[in-house]
């Protein structure tokens, strides 16, 4: 029994095929989904999605939104998603450093929140690369 996984962003379909298991990070923690999981609809946090195909784990950085799991079909709708293999390590590291610097400089509530989000996104991307290794 395999799960059918669909990862969609507004601009393109990032992933659309069968997998054995996934680990998803939601607002209330990470959940692992195996075949014949109960039906749930959940919000997805900015974090890593781990996909297992035949004992090989792949990572994808997701930038938050929704997931629907039911009947061995998983649909994840995200604002943006990047496959771990598509991210350039150095660029991601630089982005992380820039985000950290911006956070320290941020003034006012709104900027702080925005920089926080940017930081989390950059961190997710770096983690996505590191997790493969």
């Amino acid at each position: 029994m395999t799960l059918n996984l669909c990862v969609l962003t507004p601009n393109r379909i990032v992933w659309d095929s069968e997998v054995k298991e996934i680990i998803l990070s939601t607002n209330s923690g990470q959940i692992g989904v195996l075949p014949n999981h109960a039906s749930i609809a959940t919000a997805v946090d900015i974090g890593i999605l781990r996909i297992r195909l035949n004992n090989q784990w792949l990572t994808m950085a997701l930038m938050g939104s929704f997931a629907r799991i039911g009947n061995n079909e998983i649909t994840i709708l995200v604002n943006d998603a990047e496959k771990g293999s598509d991210i350039d390590p150095q660029e991601a590291q630089q982005a992380l450093e820039i985000a950290e610097a911006n956070l320290r400089k941020a003034e006012g509530k709104r900027q702080t929140i925005e920089e926080n989000l940017a930081l989390r996104r950059a961190r997710t991307r770096v983690e996505a690369i590191n997790a493969i290794l």
């Binding site: 969609l8 507004p10 601009n11 709708l77």
Partner: protein
């Protein structure tokens, strides 16, 4: 050369010829082709006028051909984006359902149209459907408001429904369309407008020659709950356990907002595609019409030219023969 010489002769002799002689010559059966001297105008159209018309029609034809090619290239660019965004709203419909028949108190009709004209009838069909929805949903307890995207719908709806318009947004296509821009827009609409059901009216792009006006319905969370409880198509929603976040209501609220912005994104892209496709076909038929007009004008031009040559010849020859005879 001989013609020119003859013409000069005729002009030199013209003052000597009395009008009476010419008329006598003209009515003689030796000089045909002038039976239609009834309407005085026929022989008086100058070739200059027809030539000017031909030049302007030819310019218009060139312009419309260029516009068609521009529209074709823009269409190709947007089409891939649209097809990619189509997959996005389907899960929402699968989960929450698209219920155009939901009976609600506060309807908001979001009409999507183009900013520029010359794109065929697509804007008029969108406006017609919006007005139809408005009529359908106006009654003692119900009310309908408009949110307008695009200049063309604004021009048409401002005339008769001014008091029902909540928001007008124009110049969407100045920057290439992307999701962030549309989600900001969706956010604005959700903040400023109270609604129970949002109906988005746009032209769905089926193919380069067919654009189908469609209505997508997005319901607010309370209505979704109500429908889910009352049975019908939304019962599946309850079978899903909702996780993440504080309460189910909060998640559903987020979900509804996300659904709205995804559906808007898809709708705006589809409408843009339809606009370019409609403009392509409108410009194509206009170039073809210009070509037809040009053919007809060429015929008229040749006839006028030949008529004027014949007139000159006759005058010369009649003048010359009057001299001899």
């Amino acid at each position: 050369m001989a013609m020119a010489a003859l013409r000069r002769e005729g002009r030199r002799l013209a003052p000597l010829i009395s009008p009476r002689t010419i008329t006598a010559v003209r009515s003689s059966p030796l000089y045909p082709t002038l039976e239609d001297e009834g309407p005085l105008g026929v022989r008086h159209i100058s070739t200059q006028v027809v030539r000017n018309r031909m030049k302007s029609v030819k310019n218009i034809q060139k312009i419309t051909k260029a516009m068609k090619m521009v529209a074709a290239s823009k269409l190709r660019a947007i089409q891939t984006k649209t097809e990619n965004s189509r997959g996005l709203w389907q899960p929402f419909t699968a989960l929450l359902g698209d219920l155009p028949s939901a009976d609600v108190k506060k309807n908001v009709v979001v009409t999507i149209s183009s900013d520029k004209g010359l794109c065929g009838g697509i804007n008029s069909t969108s406006v017609k459907i919006s007005k139809g929805l408005h009529k359908l949903n106006s009654g003692p307890e119900k009310e309908t408001k408009y949110v307008i995207l695009g200049e063309k719908a604004k021009a048409q709806l401002v005339r008769d429904s001014k008091k029902d318009i909540e928001l007008i947004i124009t110049e969407l296509q100045k920057n290439p369309l992307n999701y962030t821009q549309v989600s900001v827009l969706a956010d604005e609409i959700l903040k400023n407008v109270e609604y129970d059901a949002l109906r988005i009216v746009f032209n769905k792009f089926q193919s380069v020659v067919s654009f189908v006006p469609t209505v997508s319905t997005v319901l607010s969370t309370e209505i979704v709950e109500r429908e889910a409880e009352s049975g019908g198509k939304l019962v599946d929603l309850d079978s899903y356990e909702v996780e993440g976040g504080e309460t189910k209501g909060e998640i559903l609220q987020n979900l509804a907002e996300f659904q709205f912005s995804c559906t808007m994104f898809n709708a705006v892209l589809e409408n843009a595609c339809s606009e370019q496709g409609a403009r392509m076909s409108a410009m194509d038929s206009s170039s073809r019409n210009a070509g037809d007009m040009l053919d007809r004008l060429t015929l008229t031009y040749n006839r006028t030219r030949q008529a004027s040559i014949t007139t000159e010849l006759i005058e010369i020859i009649s003048g010359a023969s009057a001299l001899e005879g």
